[in-house]
């Protein structure tokens, strides 16, 4: 699994960080999403998928998902 974030679309809602803090974070200076773990281990993949599915700005996409 490969996670991508589009910082230009991010609206700083932070839902991804609440769901998967091991995979996503927000920059202190503007609250925009950052990627902590671009290739999450299997145990984190469901949370990463959920974060992508609920992002209110559709800023998170996932490649190579099974």
């Amino acid at each position: 699994m490969k996670v991508n974030v589009d910082q230009g679309r991010c609206c700083g809602a932070g839902q991804c960080v609440l769901i998967a803090p091991e995979v996503f974070d927000q920059r202190d200076e503007d609250g925009i999403v950052t990627l902590v773990e671009p290739s999450p281990a299997e145990g984190l993949q469901a949370a990463a998928r959920e974060a992508a599915a609920v992002c209110p700005a559709s800023a998170i996409t996932i490649d190579g998902d099974q």
């Binding site: 609206c11 809602a13 960080v17 609250g31 599915a53 209110p56 700005a57």
Partner: protein, 404 residues
């Protein structure tokens, strides 16, 4: 439906927790409907998930201002500044300036910061529950917990004293309500509120702390960065209002929905790990979210094959979209483990609710504390005796009578 049957908002329901029957009909047969607002003005009403989500993120649909001549919600002379748009806060509402403002303020509301507030929130919630229990049952959970908790928290974030909360409640109510006060009453409430907040900002400037206003003031002292004084005032007033009725009402509605069918509550008692998804499901399931979001069209746009001309006012029903079977399986069931749950209660796109991590954290903490301290909690009245609050912008229940 479109030609013959002009629907009037708000749509009536028999039970305050149930959606109006029209939503399903509209989503199926007339997803682009003409409706009449309480002002008598007409607007276009959208109820399907895909339409509402796309519109909320579409820059051609702007927030209405007083100059737009958009359809008004409240009749002339009634309704707070948020309803008639005449006294809009001095905040940039579109384009690059809006983005700049949002990032400046939004960074205070990151998930990490809100998670760090959890212990404080839990302590406040526990104290409020203890007070409620001491006062005896039955109790009104909205007055005892739902309302004071978010007020304490937003006061902490803004650095304003929680002892002034009764005044904030009045100002916030006058700001958001569209039917309870006259235009004069809301006007003077607004003036008092602005005066209070200006004095608070001046005091914070003299003695800054580690609250949001202090942070913004510090960062606005650089070269051309940060917010203007007007923007700072608008931000402080806007956040106080936004942090008030919304979460306060949602706590009451969430608990009422979970207790309306007590197997839901029991499922959470058996598996408290469901709290996170249960909170988002309550946000999705809430049929009493309020009026919907108004948007104004600055150019011709096609929605569902129908041309909406420039100048159209659109009302997006997020709660109708949240019940769309095209997106949510078993949409009319409250599924506490639902995942993913891409509901639109906090909006979508560049205007998505800035405080959503705060709201989610408060709702999760409240539910955890209630499950732990009052596992025997139950509604003290039949569900159909619960009453909605008057006014349209933020939906809620007047009281949530409980016993334990």
């Amino acid at each position: 439906m479109r030609e013959n049957d002009l629907l009037r908002l708000p749509l009536p329901t028999d039970n305050p927790l149930e959606p109006p029957v029209e939503w399903e009909q509209l989503r199926g047969r007339c997803p682009v409907a003409t409706v009449e607002l309480p002002s008598g003005d007409q607007a276009t009403y959208l109820t399907r998930y895909d339409h509402v989500k796309a519109l909320l993120a579409d820059p051609r649909f702007t927030r209405p201002t007083a100059e737009d001549g958009a359809a008004r919600i409240a009749p002339e002379g009634a309704g707070g500044p948020a309803a008639d748009g005449t006294t809009t806060l001095a905040l940039p509402d579109r384009g690059e300036p809006h983005l700049r403002w949002r990032r400046q303020v939004g960074k205070y509301f990151t998930a990490k910061r809100m998670t760090a507030l959890r212990p404080r929130m839990a302590r406040i919630a526990e104290d409020l529950v203890d007070d409620m229990v001491r006062s005896g049952q039955p109790a009104d959970l909205k007055a005892g917990l739902g309302f004071p908790l978010p007020v304490h928290v937003i006061c902490h974030i803004l650095g304003v004293p929680a002892v002034d909360r009764n005044r904030f409640s009045h100002w916030s109510d006058a700001f958001l309500n569209v039917s309870r006060y006259t235009g004069d009453q809301t006007g003077s409430a607004y003036a008092e509120f602005a005066e209070y907040m200006s004095a608070h900002i001046a005091a914070t400037r003299a003695a800054p702390g580690d609250d949001l206003i202090s942070m913004v003031i510090r960062e606005s002292e650089g070269e051309g960065q940060g917010l203007t004084d007007d923007e700072l005032l608008g931000t402080a007033m806007g956040l106080l209002v936004a942090g008030h009725e919304t979460t306060a009402n949602m706590i009451g509605k969430m608990v009422a929905m979970l207790l309306a069918d007590r197997t839901r509550w029991e499922r959470l008692l058996a598996d408290p790990a469901l709290v996170r998804t249960a909170v988002d499901e309550a946000l999705r399931f809430d049929a009493n979210l309020g009026f919907g979001i108004r948007r104004y069209l600055t150019e011709d746009v096609e929605v569902d094959g129908e041309l909406l001309p420039s100048g159209t006012t659109v009302v997006c029903s997020m709660p109708a979209a949240n019940r769309d079977e095209r997106v949510f399986a078993d949409a009319d069931d409250m599924v506490l483990s639902r995942s993913p749950n891409p509901h639109l209660t906090f909006g979508a796109g560049p205007h998505a609710c800035l405080g959503q991590s705060l709201a989610r954290t408060e709702l999760q903490v409240t539910l955890e504390v209630l499950l732990r301290k009052l596992p025997t909690l139950q509604l003290d009245v039949p569900v159909d005796e619960l009453k909605r609050v008057e006014g349209l912008l933020v939906g809620g229940l007047r009281t949530v009578p409980v016993r334990w």
